[in-house]
């Protein structure tokens, strides 16, 4: 017994091998972005310290980890707008305008688009695990993975990820910038059944630069869809 305990203790403190870390990441991403080409309904609620909570609804069409088209459903003032989010560029099309407008990286930082980016970050594609330790979160035993961005152009250069040790469900992710400052925290609050599997259905994202500002994103109706490549172009936007 004692030997087993010792072995377990040793196991707990040693960093996992690279393939193990990659395998863990892949499992985590399965809970978050299980389908390659899909559509999903999103309800987004923004909480601020002073103002009333505001809700909006979208339908998101995604392909891969870095392409999505977001169709605004509600509120009625936003209905009809469509956004195209690519890795390097973001466009918005408004029914009142004749052509789509490009959103600068700075503007992307400012609004809910940044939370969308956070929610859809692919840990497998963009990050590599530098180390794994054990930890705890809200009473559950967790693996804590320290992820480093593979490329210098990835938005968050470091992510710390809490995973449920038993189920490999993602629990919490802390997003850091190059200077080491912690900018956002995502807590994967709700998991449920969609498209025949268990996936994250609710994320809570905190803007740590502005304490008290929190965005709640709820997913429903995740459906596999064969989204053609040409759907994710600026020209296609105009045809919505």
């Amino acid at each position: 017994m004692k030997k087993l305990l010792l072995a377990l203790a040793l196991l707990a403190s040693t960093p996992l091998r690279a393939e193990d870390a990659a395998a863990i990441l892949a499992k985590v991403d399965q809970f978050r972005t299980p389908l390659d080409s899909f559509s999903v309904d999103v309800e987004l609620t923004v909480y601020t310290p002073r103002d009333k909570a505001e809700s909006s609804k979208f339908r998101v069409y995604g392909k891969g980890s870095d392409r999505s088209v977001v169709e605004f459903i509600a509120p009625s003032s936003e209905k009809g707008k469509v956004m195209l989010m690519l890795r390097d560029a973001m466009w918005i099309y408004m029914p009142t305008a004749s052509r789509p407008i490009r959103i600068s990286p700075l503007q992307r930082l400012m609004g809910q688009a940044s939370n969308g980016d956070v929610a859809r970050t692919s840990f497998t594609v963009d990050y590599v695990a530098k180390s794994v330790t054990e930890g705890e979160w809200e009473g559950r035993k967790t693996f804590v993975l320290d992820l480093a961005a593979k490329d210098a152009d990835i938005a968050y250069s470091r992510v710390q990820l809490w995973i449920d040790k038993a189920s490999y469900e993602p629990l919490r992710a802390d997003f850091y910038v190059v200077s080491g400052k912690l900018i956002k925290r995502a807590v994967y609050r709700e998991l449920g059944q969609m498209a025949g599997r268990r996936v994250v259905t609710g994320i809570e994202i905190d803007d740590l630069l502005r304490p008290g500002n929190r965005t709640m994103m709820r997913y429903a109706n995740l459906t596999p869809k064969a989204n053609p490549d040409r759907m994710f172009t600026k020209d296609a936007l105009g045809k919505w």
Binding site: I154, S157, V178, S179, K181, I183
Partner: protein
């Protein structure tokens, strides 16, 4: 002979000629004083624009202006130290200052705003100094994370000196970065739209935020503004891979002021010239009237119409030259007196102190005034001279 007659006729009626001369002198002095004031204003504005903001030359990496950078400082200057050494080796260069402009979000924990920052070298910036500090201190030399804010931005961020804010931007590789900064001071540039967004920060801080060693541009300050084009040509020859802009290409406000003043003073000059023209023309017409019989006699003797006309043109010219000489001398003297007088003018918009009234005296101003005086006086004698030349001999002879 024509000159002799012209000269003597000018002095024939001393009083009338004196008055006419006074008008020309008045015009010339006016041109000299207006011109001098205008030139002084231009020089002052030019030098203050150059020395506090633009520098004489701005050096960029070749391709900066024409290429669209997808990431910050994609077309920035690298090898800055080497570039600086090469530039400063020219004795005509007073100093160089590196700068970066960047945009991002600034947050006080409650809300975020976009900011537009100019990252500077604090010690060099002190030598230039374009804006007024409203509170706090200027950028400290050794602290890379202190900033000064435009007044509007400080108000919007509810920030005062000593407070901490967060700057967030995309780095030169495209990832995000954020840094906490301390507000050292608040400044006012006088332009509200600028102050609502402006941040000044040390260049080291910006380079850290952008994760780069590059700079956006190198500002070159010379000892003498007149050396600008020569130094530019030299640098273009010596240094590859760069492109430059000189202050004149960038000082749009200065050029607008020049245009405006030239327009205003040109118009005034026109009015003054008109007065001179009418006055001289009037004098010569009177002179012709009085000498009608004389003109008839000259023509009877075989003087051609052209010659008669030339006689009176010569008179206009003589008056013009005399007036020009007196005007230039008088104008230069008067300008000198005014310059010594240290007359203080009220402060211009955005400033708190006035400045002394000065006129710049240069050979070109004096020569221009002289030439204009001579030309206007001669022009004004054209019509009278033509009138005289077309007189009918018999009528002229019969004139009292």
């Amino acid at each position: 002979m024509i000159t002799r007659i012209a000269f003597r006729n000018v002095f024939r009626n001393r009083r009338r000629s004196a008055i006419t001369l006074l008008v020309i002198v008045f015009g010339a002095v006016g041109l000299i004083l207006f011109g001098g004031y205008k030139q002084q204003t231009f020089r002052g504005l030019r030098e203050s624009t150059i020395r506090s903001r633009l520098g004489h030359l701005q050096i960029y990496k070749r391709g900066f202006a024409t290429n669209e950078a997808k990431k910050p400082l994609e077309f920035g200057l690298d090898n800055v130290a080497e570039l600086r050494r090469a530039v400063e080796s020219d004795k005509r260069v007073k100093m160089t200052a590196a700068q970066i402009t960047l945009m991002g979000l600034i947050s006080n924990g409650d809300k975020s705003e976009t900011f537009l920052a100019t990252a500077v070298e604090p010690r060099k910036e002190k030598q230039m100094n374009g804006q007024r500090l409203v509170s706090g201190t200027d950028l400290p030399e050794n602290e890379s994370d202190a900033v000064i804010l435009g007044r509007g931005l400080a108000t919007s961020m509810h920030a005062k000196p000593g407070d901490y804010l967060t700057l967030m931007t995309t780095t030169s590789t495209g990832s995000l970065n954020a840094a906490d900064v301390r507000v050292a001071g608040i400044f006012m540039s006088g332009i509200k739209e600028y102050d609502d967004r402006a941040v000044k920060m040390p260049i080291a801080g910006a380079q850290q935020l952008l994760q780069t060693k590059k700079v956006e541009r190198l500002i070159v300050m010379l000892n003498e503004t007149d050396d600008t084009q020569a130094v530019r040509a030299d640098l273009a020859r010596r240094l590859p891979g760069i492109e430059m802009k000189d202050w004149s290409e960038l000082a749009s406000f200065y050029h607008q002021v020049v245009l405006l003043y030239n327009g205003i003073f040109g118009f005034l000059g026109l009015i003054v010239s008109a007065i001179v023209v009418f006055s001289v023309a009037n004098t010569i017409l009177m002179s012709i009237f009085e000498r009608t019989r004389e003109i008839g006699t000259l023509m009877a003797m075989g003087t051609t119409r052209a010659r008669v006309a030339r006689m009176f043109l010569a008179e206009g010219l003589v008056i013009g030259v005399l007036g020009a000489i007196a005007g230039v001398v008088g104008g230069a003297l008067l300008a000198n007196l005014i310059n010594r007088g240290h007359i203080m003018l009220p402060p211009p918009p955005g400033y708190t102190v006035g400045y002394p009234l000065r006129m710049l005296m240069s050979p070109s101003i004096l020569i221009t005034a002289a030439v204009i005086s001579i030309v206007t006086a001669t022009i004004s004698s054209i019509v009278p001279a033509l009138k005289a030349s077309r007189m009918k001999i018999v009528d002229a002879l019969g004139h009292i």
